[in-house]
Amino acid sequence: MTNFLDQLPKHIREIAESVNVLTPEAVLTTPRIKFLDTRTKSLYTLVRKCTPDDVRVLKDAAAKWLAETPLSADSLFKPLANVKWSRVSFGCSALDRCTGGGVVTRGITEICGAAGVGKTQLLLQLALCVQLPVKLGGLGRGVAYICTEDAFPARRLLEMSKALESRYPQEQLNFLGNIFVEHQYESQPLINCVSNRLPRLLQQHSIGLIIIDSVAAIFRLYTDFLERARQMRRLADALISYADKYNCAVVCVNQVASSGSGLATGPLQDEVPCLGLQWAHLGRTRMRISRVPKQHRVKDQLLTVRKLEVVYSPETPNSFAEFLITSEGVVDVPAELPARPPAKMRRL
């Protein structure tokens, strides 16, 4: 492959070299003014004039070098390209139905909800299910889990992994051995970790899911909104590039805060997800977990039903599903059994 600069005509190559812009990426991202600016050049180079047309030819050549040819939309259905749209199942059929198969391996999926509503439980279940083989809804790959708030709930994970093992005994998987946990409590070390150590992990082990629990805790303490926006963008940029390159799912956890406006039509509408519009645009899918005022009896315990709602997603319509959190993990709400036998039989 010839060098990009070598195949340009001579006077255009000189323009690029005189401002020390050597790669096609740098040519495209350097503003035109930098090529035309005569203040920093010596008298010798001023003699040869650089016109805007020359700069346009240079940029055009760089664009031609880097651009990909568009494909037609129906070739995206072919299996080779289809692997980019694979999904990680939740392990619970109601949730899978509602989200169209699970968490998609493109972009950032945001799960938001109030405290104690079950976000971490759902993430642990996802971390186990991603390790299942593809035919059972997983990706057969490991997990990178970055914890920013409390200690990682290892004992609960063990309990859930035992339940999953008993469900699929034929897959002898070392569930706990494929989950890599890291604790980071501040934003700058987190971004360093995500930018430096995470790519090394992704190269050495095959990772199918990256979890950050939670993003809100890191960015809530910022008072300078511009700086916060910049850090969020850097984090999201890194995560999205990994999702694209290694074809893994990325899940970030967000919290909710009450909006304090009098226009709320109910307790649910009063709470808005934290981190504002900036974070909302960086995420691709948003799911919201909340409690439902219904309860269900499972083995002498009264459990509150939880609801997962797809707030926005490019693939699925806005739907919701209900689930329970039991000792086995996240399960469907069982259908109600009739309490008494039907009237016909009782007459006998």
């Binding site: 096609p24 991202t29 940029k59 760089a62 037609s72 850097r234 909302a280 691709r284 693939e315």
Partner: protein, 255 residues
């Protein structure tokens, strides 16, 4: 591009009257958006040779409208459409072929009587897709889009979804501004030479004006002057037409 010689003999300015332009506009077809009131207010739909911006928060239907436009541009001439193709430039990987297929099937059903051989499978073939994960790729794709237009001259709409996302990832504000201007200049140059429509997607952001935060479209004030039409999407399904919030007009949803 034609070069004009400014000698007094062949100045070819001022040889088109307003009536000629009006006739040309009435005859040129527009791309239906599928939203009846919006089409009525726009005079038929999205016009060619213009940059139209769709702005709104996440989950309000911008990507859906972009997909719908890619399909509506293919409506056969016998049914009043443009019978063209579409190019979809995807920066957020929001594009999902299954969703496009669903919309294509719905459109096929809708046009079954008027145009029986408007097939969903052929519709998908006419949508060209390219993914641009960062700003550099986006610049490269937009600057070399003319090459693709020459190879496929029936492309009538080019969608960038979303323009704001790649550019906002750049840290340096000045560089972001310069690149945005270069992009828009390249888009306008393409509009002069080919008869296409650019459709761009944008998001809302907070901007500090005075001492208050206002919710405005991202990418800046200067950029607002460079686009031709702006359609706002809100969460309850309503559309607004107009460049700034104060001058926008509510288009009620009527299907």
């Amino acid at each position: 591009m034609e070069t004009t010689f400014l000698s007094s003999n062949n100045i070819n300015l001022f040889n088109k009257s307003c009536l000629d332009i009006l006739r040309g506009e009435i005859q040129s077809k527009k791309i239906a958006t599928g939203h009846k009131s919006l089409d009525r207010h726009l005079g038929g739909g999205i016009s060619l040779r213009q940059i139209t911006e769709l702005v709104g928060n996440s989950g309000t239907g911008k990507t859906k409208m972009c997909l719908q436009l890619c399909l509506n541009v293919q409506i056969p001439k016998s049914a009043g459409g443009l019978e063209g193709a579409a190019l979809f430039i995807d920066t957020r990987q929001d594009f999902h072929p299954d969703r496009l297929q669903e919309l294509a099937r719905d459109l096929e059903k809708e046009y079954k009587q008027r145009a029986p051989d408007f097939q969903a499978a052929k519709m998908l073939q006419n949508v060209h897709y390219v993914s641009c994960p960062n700003a550099v790729q986006l610049m490269a794709t937009v600057l070399s889009s003319y090459r693709h237009l020459i190879a496929h001259p029936n492309i009538k709409v080019i969608v960038i979804d979303s323009l704001a996302f790649s550019l906002r990832m750049l840290d340096d504000g000045a560089q972001r501004f310069e690149l945005l201007l270069e992009l828009v200049e390249s888009m306008r140059r393409l509009l002069r030479e080919h008869e296409v429509a650019w459709v761009v997607t944008n998001v809302l952001t907070h901007r500090c004006i005075g001492d208050q935060f206002h919710v405005v479209p991202a990418l800046g004030e200067m950029y607002s002057h460079l686009i031709n039409e702006r359609i706002w999407f809100s969460r309850n399904g309503h559309c607004f037409l107009g460049k700034s919030w104060k001058t926008s007009r509510l288009i009620k949803d009527s299907r």
